[in-house]
Every structure is written in structure tokens, then in C-alpha cells.
């Protein structure tokens, strides 16, 4: 059992476990599984100014801030004690494609050629970590949800709008991966 926990978890273990968070949060909290709203609560807590979008009782949504702090702690525990974070066994085709783009570091979850403090000061690094972050924050709030709120929670509840959102997520991802990335490297 311990051996199994230390290996990377296959999709048929991780996927159903993630799916169980939908009923878990509904039954033990009457909350709808969703994460990007936490960004809104952080804004409402830190800098609401006089903006209408941030004028609500964020304190009643505190659970979501506890949840994301938990995710951070979980990531720490998995990397420290459960052998998370090693080389990722991606397909050889992906390795070839990314090597062709200029990625050289395949030793952990994220390539250090792109994601490091040094790279942050380069144009390339700033596009990946800075502009990428802005697009994630702005886009998920404009779309009223992210992968958890729309693609998992919303699709589970058969919401048409979540299907539209999920397709749009993929359209954006495909455009970036296949048309824009070669220009950024």
C-alpha cells in the first residue's frame, strides 16, 4: 500500500477521487466545488476599494480560503513525504515537441528553463508566469469558473454553460499550445 502511494497515481485512481469532492463538499458543507472564486475573495478581503464586484460579505465565503490554503499544505506534504515531484512520465512525442521548442529540463514537474526566479526577469519568463497568471485570474472570473467549477462541478450538474466554458478553455489552450507558443520561445 505504501509503495502504491509513493508511485504517481494513475488517472483511474485520481479522477474518481477528485470527482468525490463534488458530493463531499455538497454534503459536508453545502458548498459547490469551485476554486477560482477564492481569487475574488482575496481581492474583496485585501483591496475592495469601491468596486461593486467586491462589495459582498466575503467572510461568509471564508471556507474557500481555508480550502486553498489546505491545497498548498497538501502540495507540501505530498512533495515532502509522499514522493511527489519527480520526473513526469510524459509521452515521448511530447518530450520531442517540447525539446524542439527549446525545453531542456525534464527532471521535475515544471521545466526550470521557464519557471524560475531568474527567468521571471526575462520576457519569456514574464509571459509564462506573469501574463499567464493574469489570463488565468481575469479569464476564470469573466467565465465565472475554472476547471473545478465548470469542467468538474458544472458538467457533473449537466449545466450547458459549463459545457460552453469547458470548450472555450480548450479552444484557448489549443490556440496557445499550437499557434502562439512557438513565437514565445
Amino acid at each position: 500500500m505504501l509503495e502504491f502511494i509513493k508511485e504517481p497515481w494513475p488517472w483511474y485512481v485520481a479522477g474518481p477521487l477528485i470527482g468525490l469532492f463534488v458530493p463531499l463538499l455538497l454534503i459536508f458543507g453545502n458548498k459547490n466545488f469551485g476554486i477560482s472564486s477564492s481569487l475574488r475573495h482575496i481581492c474583496a478581503m485585501c483591496a475592495p476599494l469601491n468596486i461593486k464586484y467586491f462589495k459582498y460579505d466575503w467572510k461568509s465565503e471564508q471556507w474557500s480560503l481555508f480550502y486553498v490554503i489546505g491545497i498548498m499544505i497538501g502540495g507540501f506534504l505530498a512533495s515532502q513525504y509522499l514522493m511527489g515531484g519527480g520526473k513526469v512520465d510524459i509521452s515521448t512525442q511530447t518530450v520531442q515537441d517540447l525539446t524542439a521548442l527549446g525545453v531542456t529540463d525534464f527532471s521535475s514537474y515544471l521545466p526550470s528553463d521557464i519557471f524560475s526566479w531568474n527567468e521571471l526577469l526575462s520576457i519569456k519568463g514574464f509571459i509564462f508566469m506573469g501574463i499567464g497568471g493574469i489570463l488565468v485570474g481575469f479569464g476564470t472570473r469573466y467565465a465565472n469558473g475554472c476547471t473545478s467549477g465548470h469542467s468538474i462541478s458544472g458538467l457533473s450538474n449537466l449545466q450547458f454553460s459549463s459545457l460552453v466554458a469547458t470548450i472555450s478553455f480548450f479552444v484557448g489552450g489549443l490556440i496557445m499550445t499550437h499557434f502562439l507558443l512557438p513565437f514565445i520561445f
Binding site: 467586491f54 486553498v68 515544471l110 485570474g137 476564470t140 473545478s148 468538474i152 466554458a165
Partner: protein, 136 residues
Amino acid sequence: MKNIKFLIYGIIFGIILTKAEVISWFRIQEMFRFQAFHMYGIIGSAVVVGAISILIIKKLKLKSSNGEAIIFPAKPYDKGLIIGGTMFGLGWALTGACPGPIFAIIGNGYSVFLITLMFATIGAWVYGLVQEKLPH
């Protein structure tokens, strides 16, 4: 503290995201290049389990643990789903992270993702600032 249970759920969720490599930029690239089933399997099976669970909750009219009726808020349809959704997709392929994984990546020791979280928060804030001027 009733919020402690959400902290614990978050910890378990963060462990799953890490162990399943969902937080890996490489896995997201592999997904957008259609070169492995891994991410499709995870999202697909999560939706199947979530949908069956919701069906059971609705059929049996289950209540939440504190006795309240469970609420499923409808996700309204508007243009933001398409415009904002596409913007998020662009950012997802760049960072390799949707909001949940951003927090897990920081926990995994990639401290530079604190900057990505900061920019994501700024992005959410700017959305709030210009919300009323955007097409919805």
C-alpha cells in the same frame, strides 16, 4: 471552527493533485497536444463520479450534514463563458496551472508561483474593476 474541515479537504485535494501530476506543466502540454490519455481520464472520470453523486443526491433528496436542503446554483449563460473561458485557456497552457494547481505548485516548493498567484489575483481584481464595461 467549522472552517477547519475545509482546510483538511483542501490538504487531501492538494495531495491528490500532486500525486496525479495534474500540477505538472508537462501533463498540461501533453493534454493540449493530445499525446496521452492521462488528463482526459482524470477529468472524464471525475465528471462521471460527480454526475452520479449529484444524481443520487437529487433522487434521494439528501440533505447536507447540518440538515439544510442542498442547493445547486444554476450557472447562467453569457458571453463571458466564451471570451473569459478562452482567455483562461490561453493562460492555462502558459502556466500549466488552473487556480487549484497554482496553490499546490506553491506548496510543492516552486516559490516563483507566488508571483503567478499574485498576477492571477491582479487579473481577478482588474476583472472586477472593468466588469460593467465588458460584454456579458
